[in-house]
């Protein structure tokens, strides 16, 4: 009986989490192609992942892209597009369960409020959904860069309650490292796909660009560092805001304290003079506490900076290796 997929899921142990998404190669190719055709410039391209959950793995078997948001946005209904696509795909026996979505990124800058919201809504509906981040610029440098992320349960809790004040975050004890967890990806092929791969290998020409080993990569480094600097600036602004808030708060506390003390003194004096004590005024109305700044943005920025630093470090390690290889070439033959 050949109905259904030929691939059989084999549970392999993973260090990070037991739920590893396994996309099929056609999905990977489709994502690459979508970006190539539609997403020139720094716009993100997005799409939906379809698949199902088998044992403790997430299998991604198909995907379809979302059209870009163009000027005539008014008469375009995203939800309707999605519904129609899924209905049509059901006719050809493609799994129509939403298991996540994918997005392309520009130099790794994807940690944003929008992403968080979307991923939260997806994960709320389906517990195992992931967002696949495809980095086309890094891929063009030599190796496929596709990562899958999910929100940690802690972050899910916070998003549910929408409590982004500092106290709320302190309670949850969340750091920027615990926002997203990366899930390792395993690409699976069916036997038929393997045959196809062999066919392609024979017929197609050698890759004539060995981008992975090219040494001229300072451009990429510059851009990454630029973005990093921007983020750090934003971060410092946030920190200044928070610091001023803290200072204001403590000043206010002091003022309150002083006022209370003065009141008490006065009351004591009056009592000693036999006059009625002054009425207790409502202090909370006098000293309204300043509103605390939302901490969510800071957390996001911190996460983003972390991401940039990781990318930069990976990049430099690769480059160091390449430089040493070049050095070996230059030495007289030994």
């Amino acid at each position: 009986v050949l109905a259904g997929r030929l691939s059989t899921p084999t549970p392999t142990p993973h260090p990070l989490s037991s739920r590893a998404p396994g996309p099929k190669s056609s999905v990977v190719l489709k994502i690459i192609k979508h970006y190539q055709e539609e997403g020139q410039g720094s716009e993100v391209v997005q799409g939906v992942l379809l698949g199902l959950v088998v044992d403790d793995r997430l299998e991604i078997t198909n995907c379809f892209p979302f059209p870009q948001h163009t000027e005539d946005d008014a008469d375009f209904d995203e939800v309707q597009y999605q519904m129609e696509m899924m209905r049509s795909l059901r006719h050809v026996n493609i799994d129509h369960l939403h298991v996540g979505w994918y997005q392309s990124t520009y130099y790794g800058s994807f940690v944003s409020r929008a992403l968080l919201d979307s991923q939260f809504s997806y994960q709320h509906a389906i517990e195992e959904s992931v967002v696949l981040i495809y980095d086309p610029l890094k891929t063009a440098q030599g190796s496929l860069c596709l990562k899958a992320y999910r929100l940690t349960p802690k972050l899910m809790e916070i998003c549910k309650e929408k409590d982004f004040s500092p106290e709320g975050l302190k309670k949850a004890n969340i750091g920027y490292e615990h926002m997203f967890e990366e899930v390792p990806i395993v690409i699976k092929n069916s036997h038929l796909m393997n045959v196809l791969m062999w066919e392609l290998e024979e017929k197609s020409t050698m890759a004539d660009k060995h981008e992975l080993l090219s040494l001229s990569s300072s451009n990429h480094l510059e851009k990454s560092l630029q973005l990093l600097m921007d983020r750090v600036d934003e971060m410092s602004q946030e920190i200044v805001k928070y610091n001023s808030y803290c200072r204001n708060l403590s000043k206010q506390q002091q003022q309150k304290h002083q006022y209370l003390q003065r009141r008490q003194q006065e009351n004591a004096q009056r009592q000693s003079r036999g006059e009625p004590p002054l009425p207790e005024e409502d202090i909370s109305k006098m000293f309204k506490p300043p509103p605390p700044p939302p901490r969510m943005d800071t957390l996001l920025i911190a996460g983003q900076i972390n991401n940039y630093c990781q990318n930069v470090k990976e990049f430099t390690s690769q480059n160091l290796g390449k430089l040493f290889m070049a050095q070996a070439l230059q030495h007289p033959s030994s």
């Binding site: 192609k33 055709e37 496929l144 038929l192 796909m193 066919e199 990781q310 430099t316 290889m325 070439l329």
Partner: protein, 356 residues
């Protein structure tokens, strides 16, 4: 009748000369020449007119140096009206299309022996580029075939929203041969696009290979009386975008693993594997050189010129200059790493301080 036999004779003579010329000239040794003496699939029987017909396929493979001639002479009794396809001989296919076709084949309904679908792409002056496809549900039985055309139209509209530059350029079917039903389906597609391309992907792996072939249709037959359709083969080329090429390279690594799975490797490992590949290539070249030196293989000048280019590509820089360049680059990278680590430490510290 005599005229047509003479024409066929001339044609064969021409082919023979061509072959001799190509054998002599090794430079075009890698060109596969598809001659357009068509491979005939006669779809309609014209009983009274045709006395015999034949398959005529001439393929000259200059590179392997052997001729495979499958044709035997025979003669026509009717004139052939050939309206050759407007496309040139090339059909460029992206691997994403083939992957989708294989995928849809795996998901087909029980009892269906093959899958069909629409091909989307762009038409250039000389060639057609196939960049996307989707499968269309259809039912096929002995005498009739039903294709869900509504579905096809709907899907095309949806796809157009995402990539408005793609048009319907043909259709695909899995399976080895072209059947009579294909003609009907092809006719339907000729209404959607001019000169549609028909692609067959042999997923049943007859002859132990997955043959991927493309055809264009041409009218033939007696004008005014019975008309048939002939499918002429086209050359198939695989085209990649750069990033696609890299993706396919990665996917090809799944062939090696026994569970057909593949993880995405870390970066330094990637550089190592790329270096390993270059090392393999160098080894091959070295063994070739050894063979030539020891006289086992004839020396080839063109290969020699490539080798010269290769050796000269390593730039000659004086040792001090190179050392200074290398050191400055290494310093840059180390500094950036240090800064990145510092930044990470800072934000971690900030985090802890806020919590206090």
């Amino acid at each position: 009748m005599l005229l047509s036999v003479c024409l066929m004779g001339l044609f064969d003579f021409y082919l023979f000369i061509f072959h001799i010329v190509s054998q002599r000239n090794k430079d075009i040794a890698n060109v596969q020449i598809y001659m357009y003496t068509p491979r005939l699939y006669l779809q309609t029987m014209v009983q009274e007119q045709i006395l015999s017909w034949y398959y005529g396929v001439w393929t000259l493979r200059g590179s392997s140096g052997n001729i495979q001639i499958f044709s035997i002479h025979s003669f026509y009794s009717t004139f052939l009206l050939l309206k050759m396809a407007v496309h040139g001989p090339f059909v460029k296919i992206h691997p994403v299309v083939l992957a989708s076709i294989a995928d849809s084949y795996e998901r087909r309904n029980e009892g269906a022996s093959r899958v069909i679908g629409t091909l989307l792409g762009t038409i250039d002056k000389h060639s057609v580029e196939v960049t996307n496809c989707f499968s269309v549900p259809h039912n096929e039985s002995e005498d009739e075939v039903a294709v869900d055309m509504e579905f096809a139209k709907n899907m095309y509209e949806l796809h157009k929203k995402v990539s408005p530059s793609e048009v319907i350029i043909g259709w695909y079917a899995t399976g080895y041969d072209i059947t009579e039903h294909s003609v009907l389906i092809h006719e339907y597609y000729s209404r959607e696009a001019q000169n549609p391309i028909h692609l067959t992907v042999d997923t049943a792996l007859q002859s132990n290979r997955m043959n991927i072939r493309a055809y264009a249709s041409a009218q033939m037959g007696v004008p005014g009386k019975t008309v048939g359709v002939m499918f002429t083969p086209l050359t198939v080329k695989y085209v990649y975008y750069d990033t696609e090429r890299i993706g396919v390279d990665l996917l090809q690594r799944t062939r090696a693993s026994p569970t057909r799975t593949n993880g995405l490797t870390s970066d330094l490992a990637q550089v190592a594997s790329a270096a390993g590949r270059i090392q393999e290539m160098l080894n091959t070249v070295l063994s070739y050189i050894e063979d030539v030196l020891s006289g086992k293989v004839m020396a080839d000048n063109s290969v020699g010129r490539f080798l010269m280019d290769l050796v000269n590509k390593v730039p000659k820089i004086s040792v001090e200059d190179f050392e200074s360049m290398l050191n400055s680059n290494i310093n840059d990278l180390l500094m950036v790493t240090y800064l990145a680590n510092l930044t990470q430490a800072q934000i971690a510290l900030n985090e802890k301080l806020v919590v206090l």
